[in-house]
Amino acid sequence: MYYVVTFALIITMALALTRAILGPSVYDRVLAVNMLGTKTVLLLSVIAFLMGRPDFLDLALAYALINFIGVFAVLEFFRNRAAKQPEEKP
């Protein structure tokens, strides 16, 4: 019943991972992280049903929050870094 969705989600996570590794610019990587985050939320919800424990959806909800905060931490870091010395090359 849930196998199709789970497979699709895992393959998309693999694609997002390749985008994260290949991604030329940093923003591609931020995009990949955001994608992987939301896919994990969906995957966790589907697996909760797959394993017959629907009361474990707290995990998926908690993860949706964390992902939102994580993306903002990344963007805040990058805005600060780019604003300071865009040409800074250590």
Binding site: A20, I47, A62, L65, F68, F72, E76, R81, P90
Partner: protein
């Protein structure tokens, strides 16, 4: 059938790990390590470890990414080119891995019921929890009551890390802070931050509410002090990111944070001492009220609250120490 998904996710895990180590750009490896702990959390969930998955997600993917990023903002963003002597170490590591893999062949069958690990101690916990503490979540029961001394030690590990970072970095801005012209709340940032601030301001109360739900839901489902502390700290860190670190400090000033750190740890210790004053051993909650089962539940609730308070206080003071140091 979940076996196949486990297989896939583990391979993704390995690829992420190799990518983390290989990437020159520290910023990339920090983001990949966020993804790594996220994949690890899904793997734990597949292995029936719901509490651990929630903790790994809340702490591993949430807090450690934010801390690493705020440290990166102050230090370097790129790693220096590697030195020469890497092939030798690589060979040694590969040999060691093969030896370890050969050694794991002797391990007991994966998940077979008659492995020794399921025989001796685990069944006792499962039925003793129903009888003595009578709460659904056996993991919280073992964490809080049967092995409560471990968790007391755990709270003091977090406490040490908190005072360690405060001792190292103090609370005043470091030498780099002056050199950074952009304070967090500069108006220029507002233009493209309007939508996130509005959405953030709308969501933060719900995140805090969810954090409290996870805190007090620890007995009935996955949750507890550590996860709740991490979630609440993450919510306030989001507030700091959007509204600026000084306004987050106005919400919870540093003196309150020190009070939170000391208060949570002391709360846990005092509940343990009550076990002694009321005539039984240290950390024995059944003497806390006339009916032992009620006493255990009351004890669990209080120590989980103590753990949550300390973890929130510590994580927030670490974030403020890092942010003040370099104007992240």
């Amino acid at each position: 059938m979940t076996v196949i998904f486990g297989f896939f996710l583990l391979t993704l895990l390995l690829i992420t790990a190799v990518a983390i180590v290989q990437s020159q750009n520290l910023f990339v490896s920090v983001m990949l390590s966020g993804m790594f702990s996220l994949l690890l959390a899904v793997n734990f969930f597949l292995l029936d470890a719901a509490d651990v998955a929630l903790t790994e997600a809340a702490v591993g993917a949430g807090i450690s990414t934010v801390l690493l990023l705020s440290a990166l903002a102050i230090t370097a963003k790129h790693e220096k080119a590697p030195s020469s002597s890497r092939v030798g170490a690589l060979i040694i590591v590969i040999i060691a891995t093969l030896v370890l893999i050969y050694a794991t062949l002797g391990n007991p069958q994966f998940a077979d019921p008659n492995a020794p690990v399921h025989q001796h101690v685990a069944p006792w916990y499962l039925d003793k929890t129903a009888e003595a503490i009578d709460i659904p979540n056996v993991v919280t029961a073992v964490l809080g009551s049967f092995r409560g001394y471990d968790t007391l030690g755990e709270v003091f590990v977090v406490f040490t890390a908190g005072i360690g970072v405060l001792f190292l970095l103090g609370t005043q801005p470091g030498p780099f802070a002056q050199s950074n012209p952009f304070k967090l709340t500069d108006p220029k940032g507002l233009r493209h931050y309007l939508i996130p601030r509005v959405v953030g301001r709308m969501l933060i109360p719900f995140i805090l509410l969810f954090g409290l739900y996870v805190q007090f839901h620890g007995e009935y489902g996955p949750g507890g002090g550590f996860q709740a502390g991490a979630l609440i700290a993450a919510a306030i860190i989001l507030f700091a990111l959007l509204e600026g670190e000084n306004s987050a400090l106005k919400v919870i000033p540093r003196s309150v944070l020190i009070g939170l750190i000391a208060g949570g740890a002391l709360l846990y210790g005092v509940v343990g001492l009550f076990g002694i004053f009321l005539g039984s051993n240290f950390l024995d909650y059944s003497v806390l009220s006339s009916n032992p089962v009620k006493g255990q539940q009351m004890g669990l609730l209080i120590i989980e609250a103590g753990v949550g308070i300390t973890v929130t206080g510590v994580l927030l003071s670490i974030f403020h120490a890092f942010a003040a140091r370099g104007k992240f």
